[in-house]
């Protein structure tokens, strides 16, 4: 088990290395100069050269990379060019804001979608199935920003139930913080629920066809025992993998939803940094996103044997 974890983490190292190089090179391929952006209209060749030297942008690319990479190995992702804050704490702060929304949304979506998909499969080709599949298709077909805007319009502006824009952190006022994240969570929840219902239904259909389900029925078990005791664990595997992928994707950035609801999350940080050509922040964000993705999928893989004893962690 420990060996497996160690091996998986070691295998992530090349991924992160390639990611680091790619991020570094790609950003510098985008036209634009952070120094010119910072100085704006006031730029003179002299002040520009001066700022370049202060930011280290006068060095050659390999040297820049070497410095950045060396510092990164010490846990130092650099200092933001625009805000002068250290990148790592900045990224972590913003990440927790996004992560809270994403984790709650995905947890709720899984809790609803997995049973819903199983029931749809169990009642295949009936009205129930049609309703659930139809709802799922509708939900994941609506783009998240549009869904977010609709929620803002109805729950915020028309009904006045929830605050429309802004964000309050939990440490300031937990009650208000909760009110502010209801709509972003709901947006993601509805969208991902659609995706997960489809998956849960498809994998349950696959399992219900197998002989051990008929065998369970032939033993005289009730339908609920057949479904929950026999089908659930076996059908959950593929959905679990998908939950991992969804989680990895969303944790990596929900910039669109954050923009709609003006949440200062990781996605917003990244978008702002790109506009400002804030190289250290962009690099830090992207590398962190890659790390989170690898970590989430590692956890998903490690938990897989809980559902399928044929898969061992060795």
């Amino acid at each position: 088990m420990l060996h497996f974890v160690f091996k998986r983490i070691a295998m992530a190292v090349p991924t992160l290395l390639i990611m680091a190089v790619t991020v570094f090179v790609l950003i510098r391929l985008i036209p634009g100069d952070p120094a010119a952006l910072m100085l704006g209209d006031l730029a003179t060749p002299a002040s520009l050269a001066d700022l370049h030297e202060r930011l280290g942008l006068d060095q050659s690319l390999p040297v820049q990379f070497g410095i950045w990479f060396g510092n990164m190995l010490h846990g130092d992702l650099g200092i933001s060019i625009t805000s002068n804050q250290p990148v790592l704490p900045l990224v972590l702060d913003r990440f927790w804001i996004s992560a809270r929304v994403v984790l709650i949304a995905v947890l709720l979506a899984s809790l609803f979608a997995v049973p819903a998909g199983m029931i749809a499969a169990w009642r295949q080709n009936t009205g129930t199935d049609l309703f659930l599949v139809g709802t799922a298709t509708l939900l994941y077909s609506i783009p998240t920003f549009w869904l977010g805007l609709l929620l803002l319009l109805f729950l915020g502006l028309q009904l006045n139930w929830l605050p429309v824009v802004g964000y309050v952190s939990f440490s300031e006022d937990p009650g208000a913080a909760l009110l502010y994240i209801v709509m972003p969570v709901m947006t993601l929840f509805l969208h991902e629920m659609g995706v997960l219902i489809r998956m849960s239904r498809a994998s349950t259909l696959e399992v219900l066809r197998l002989d051990y389900i008929t065998h369970a029925r032939a033993k005289g078990l009730s339908e609920s025992a057949v479904l929950w005791r026999h089908a659930f664990k076996n059908a959950f595997g593929p959905t679990w993998t998908l939950i991992g992928l969804v989680l990895g994707n969303l944790l990596g950035g929900i910039a669109v939803v954050e923009t709609v609801f003006t949440i200062p999350g990781l996605g917003r940080l990244l978008v702002d940094a790109i506009f400002a050509r804030d190289y250290p922040v962009i690099q830090g964000c992207l590398l962190f996103v890659a790390f989170v993705y690898v970590a989430v999928n590692l956890v998903v893989d490690l938990l897989y044997p809980l559902f399928d004893p044929r898969v061992t962690a060795e």
Binding site: L210, H215, G220
Partner: protein
Amino acid sequence: MTDIVSSGALLDVEALSLSVAATGTEVVRGVSFAVAPGEIVGIVGESGSGKTLAVRSIMALQPPAIRRTAGTIRFEGRDLAGLSAKELRDLRGGRIGMVFQEPMTSLNPSMTIGRQLEEGLAVHQRTLSADGRRALVLDMLRRVGIADPDGALAAYPHQFSGGMRQRIMLASVMLLQPALLIADEPTTALDAVVQRDVLELMVGLTRAHGTAVLMISHDLSMVARYTDRIIVMRRGEIVEQGRSDELLRAPQHPYTRALLSAMPRRLPARPIPPAATPIIEVRDLVVEYGGRRGLFRKEAGKRALHGLSLSIMPREVVALVGGSGSGKTTLGRAIAGLLPSSGGTIRYAGRPIGAGGPGWAVYRRNCQMVFQDPYSSLDPRMTIGALVGEALRTVPAMGRGEKADRVAEVLSEVGLAGPFADRYPHELSGGQRQRVAIARAVVRRPAFVIADEPVSALDVTVRAQVLELFADLQARHGFSCLFISHDLGVVEQIADRVVVMQDGRIVEQGDRDTVFDHPSHAYTRRLLSAIPALAPTGEGGVRLKWRFDDVAPEPVPS
């Protein structure tokens, strides 16, 4: 049949019809039969004959798309149509048990054996304590021959072999002491020796409890061996039923006769012209599996073949037989160059083959393969013509027209002339697909063909036709063949020489008559005596024939 009904049949099915609900197509038409208490009844028929649907509908376990449109099913005098869901559940498992074909999918992979066995008892014998259930489960596991019943309770199905799983399956069903056991192809997925053991166990257990058995099978010799009565089904109807011995000795219906005459039988030995060099010569072949190179360590491989030597002469058909896991398929794949060998040499026409070597390209052009499953071995997006023609793409000397002519010629040789070339695999039946697979293998006129279980997935009558086609092509074009099969009847019909494998080693090889009539190795004898053959009586009927009268028939334990 009426006499059985009046004498109190356990199960009485009358004029049963089943239809596909959506289209109204009848899949079972007016089927009537009865099973007396303690009786063993076999239902035989080819795929699509409706045998499985008819039998599953007894427990109302047919797929939801299938509806019962007519007829009654009575069990212990009660009409099953009138049962409530609760009464039906009490009947399922409690009075009627069911064993499935595929031991790999009939036990829940994510639940321990102990829980799976116990839950039936918990439903049907509510008064029993947990300790009482456990004691019964342990006793039953011991009776089905599980060496470590305590360990098995906490184990998962994937930790057992196919034969062991089928024993556990039997234990799970017989634990509830049903009055009727429905066995749907219970041993089809097992190899001969294991098949015999599991069947003997099933018959022994059901005799001991007075349980009647309704057994579906396409294996006539097995049905002949174990059943009291046989029901023959075709296209949703019963064409004939009667006492097993009478029905086999003097079949009345033409379809039954066709079925019986399609059983493979031994033909006179063929003379093989002597040749100086064998077409294939394998020396001390070793194949190892696994052997993964991890990031940090090198794992040792598992040796699948332990230094095998074998040669195949021009025009010769060599059959490779053995149980599952004996290395038959591995050997075939290694000879085909699809698996790297870890030691030994393979020569084709005297020249060593080795990837990239001078003999390699010639060998690859001259060695072709036919696979077992005609459904997955043909690319579903290519037409039959394209599938067969593809093999000619690497023949530089042939012009476009010449290639088209060759494809047409080969397709007509396999009986698929004309419009078939433009069709797709899904438009063809299993037998037709296997003909395409054979056409694809022989289109380049190879000197050597490897056929891996080419007829195991086919029905009895189709199998006979495909075997005939294969023998005909082989005689006409004179290719040598390595014929891998677990079906000894087929091997007896088609092989010139037989090679017997066990645990990655060749235990015996020799010409067919010697191996079949005077086997020298104990394993060969066990294999041959596991399942009886059916020999024609000359009146259109057959009789059971044991291969060695001295070792069989063992009395069925009661």
